[in-house]
Symmetry: C2
DNA sequence: TTGTAAGCGTTATCAC
DNA sequence: GTGATAACGCTTACAA
């Protein structure tokens, strides 16, 4: 069996319907067509089981109804949720999602951009970690969480506000001695604002706090060392920790509990992301919840609306706090 | 700023290099080109920053170097891992991944197929739940875990063997009274063989067992009722459970522990999938591990090799058992 | 090997 | 509105 049989073309439809090629084209492009002809075309189309050839259309119009989505990973629950929502938004608008996974590799990001452009995608949504990104793309480009270039529209949650919120919550819950843990390689991204927001509240309130930041690290061991070196007679000096991701928050919680330090009894922890665990359907820790659906929608809106993308925008969406077992307000 | 500037064409390269259009084309298609001309072309290409227009090429060749991947979800850890590996295999071969998420909806699956074909993708890899799938596609199609049609190549893990392995392990670990829990809507899929394999061992060994199967159910409550109705004086009648997914295994474990029934002390549980939890990097339960990387590779190999896809194959890949905290062999 | 030219299946521009 | 016809940028004979 030959897979590539001869497929009917618009010409075939025109002949079958007894109208001209242009009329069929007009029909498919929503241009005015006389009612009688419309019917004949529709009959011919269903008789021949015709579908417009997207390749030919793409060559003429230079549009493919396809958006490239660059993601560092798809296994990370937050990225998975974001990819899910973005794909959904795109498909609702009749666009396809060309998913490219970069594994946090700037080189892979670069190649992905090139490949995407070569294939005439209509735009790019990228969660990238390369601050030297080619900025002069021939298509609209919107980044997520990476506000490193004023010419590129960026969508993100309110990282600064989220950091503030985390600090305020911990204080409200009775913490006196705060810690901020950050681990990532996202040096120039929006994400680091989480720490700034957190620290701003600590300073304003005159609260004792400490920041421990790990960059490009594969292991969180230094956090654990820090944690243990600040325990006296089984009692930690700190009683509230803000981690810049739920993953880190979870690991820290597991570590502390393993050391006999109660969470949230002795130490309360707040993470960032707010994606429910797939196994339990619940939050994995108390956290700052990102508005994933809204972020996806904003990114898609911007990338598909060339008018907007010509005027670089920065969309910062509000976050909220939710208890999830690592703070004393958890039920 | 206009995004769609005039982009150089092969004609421009030919003129710039002082060779003919055909020569430039030959260069890009790996056809023999005299060394001198090759250099002139390469210089012209880098001078103009030329890239082949994939749309034009697609129209001529009817190939897009793009594969459609149909997934029911991307948030499920197993699907996420599979999508990750498939995307990686595709990109390694220079193919792009057009991800379509169907949310288990047969209607969405149908639309996705149609859209994919219209856009001239070179093949489809699908994890689908629609047993009435159009089988007469104009492109190679390979399914994963859905061996419902003899004409469609299918890749899956050894579900039957995995079920057997689970039963044998539970028996080896001292269980006397087994249970099998299945919840899904995948009526015609490979997945139900997990139960058959499990039961076959129980029967052969003359072990007492019970199967509880929920189809198209949104909640696992019936399992919990079953579990509690078979507890006498705080001691369950069963001591080993095989669940057809890690998710279910986890939920059952959480439920039992919540009822004061020790896992694995009183009841041992084995799941199926074997994807490490993203937060901890560890298995979430004792489980039958699917060879995800190999499954992805097999699916991509088949879909890209039209020779093979013309001769429907069924690839069953071996699984292995791994302890993960819900059996007594867990460290 | 290389140049020339005919399409691939559309859309867009005209007269009519 | 409709019908011819010229592109779109490439691949692929075919001739040289």
């Amino acid at each position: 069996m030959n897979h590539k049989r001869s497929v009917p073309t618009m010409k075939d439809v025109a002949r079958e319907a007894g109208v001209s090629l242009g009329t069929v084209s007009n029909y498919f492009n929503g241009n005015p067509v006389r009612e009688a002809n419309r019917q004949r075309v529709e009959e011919a189309v269903s008789r021949l089981n015709y579908q417009v050839n997207a390749s030919a259309r793409a060559l003429k119009t230079d549009r493919t109804e396809c958006i490239a989505l660059l993601m560092p990973s798809i296994r990370h629950p937050f990225f998975a949720a974001l990819t899910d929502e973005i794909t959904d938004c795109l498909m609702q608008r009749g666009y396809r999602n060309n998913l490219m996974i970069t594994n946090y590799d700037p080189d892979a990001e670069k190649k992905s951009f090139k490949l995407a452009v070569q294939h005439k995608i209509d735009g790019i949504i990228g969660l990238t970690y390369n601050q030297n990104l080619e900025v002069d793309l021939p298509v609209p480009f919107v980044t997520i969480d990476s506000n490193f270039h004023s010419k590129i529209p960026c969508v993100s949650s309110d990282n600064y506000g989220g950091g503030q919120l985390a600090a305020e919550k911990l204080l409200e819950l009775g913490c006196k001695n705060l810690l901020f843990f950050r681990i990532d390689s996202n040096i120039y991204g929006e994400v680091q604002k989480r720490g700034y927001g957190f620290e701003s509240v600590c300073r304003k309130r005159g609260v004792k706090y400490e920041s421990v930041i790990l960059t490009d690290s594969q292991t969180e061991a230094p956090f654990y060392e820090y944690l243990m070196s600040h325990v006296k007679d089984g009692v930690p000096e700190y009683d509230g920790i803000f981690c810049n991701s739920d993953i880190l928050a979870n690991r820290v919680a597991v570590f502390l509990r393993g050391q006999g330090i109660g969470v949230p009894e002795m130490v309360q922890i707040i993470g960032y992301d707010g994606v429910e665990d797939f196994y339990t359907g619940k939050l994995t820790c108390s956290t700052i919840v990102q508005p994933i659906r809204e972020m996806a929608k904003a990114a898609v809106d911007i990338v598909l609306n060339t008018n907007i993308s010509n005027y670089p925008a920065c969309v910062i969406l509000p976050v909220r706090y939710a208890p999830g077992g690592t703070t004393k307000d958890s039920v």
